[in-house]
Symmetry: C2
Subunit: 109 residues, 2 copies
């Protein structure tokens, strides 16, 4: 999860973005925790344990790659989070209309 | 977990060894499953999830390295399993006296 500022965005837009980003990140971790708990109930042998390990390796790589808070690509990040229902468009209220419409359009792909 | 035969060991010693080895492997996996279930109950944030992933990476590496069923080093493998209470000396009954006494001696280090 990256920190930093979004160059060219107003302070209030940055606050909205940061807040939405952190919320989606938390949700993504919450989903992962539930999946781990479910899978750990089902563990029965070495293969199932190594499969859980592989699952976690992939999820960690995906989440760490996805939550990249930099101005390049941030609209795409938000669109993909909306598409995957980790964020609703409402939670991005406060961004300017052009950014919002780009995010909304991309989230439908 | 490796397969294979122990060159120079009698068939009956090999059967004892294989049986003991498999039993210790199962116990080791059972302990790991319990640890994962405990840890997954405690998960609360991303750091705790990544810590579980790191823990699994280390355990997998350790277990895969440890359970090496080849004649070179097999007495040491058994000694370390006895030392860590994944195996009792009784479960190695059937090996010749010299092997048993080497395992017993090394397991006390």
């Amino acid at each position: 999860m990256s920190d930093g500022t979004l160059e060219g965005w107003t302070d209030s837009e940055q606050a909205v973005a940061r807040n939405a980003f952190d919320r989606a990140y938390s949700r993504s971790i919450d989903h992962l925790v539930l999946a781990i708990r479910n899978r750990s109930e089902q563990l029965s042998n070495a293969e199932s344990v190594w499969a859980l390990h592989d699952f976690l390796s992939i999820e960690r790589h995906t989440i760490e790659g996805r939550f990249d808070f930099r101005v390049e690509g941030i609209l795409f990040v938000f669109a993909s989070l909306v598409k995957d229902q980790l964020l609703s468009l409402d939670e991005l209220d406060g961004l300017d209309a052009e950014k919002l419409s780009k995010i909304a359009a991309m989230s439908r792909f």
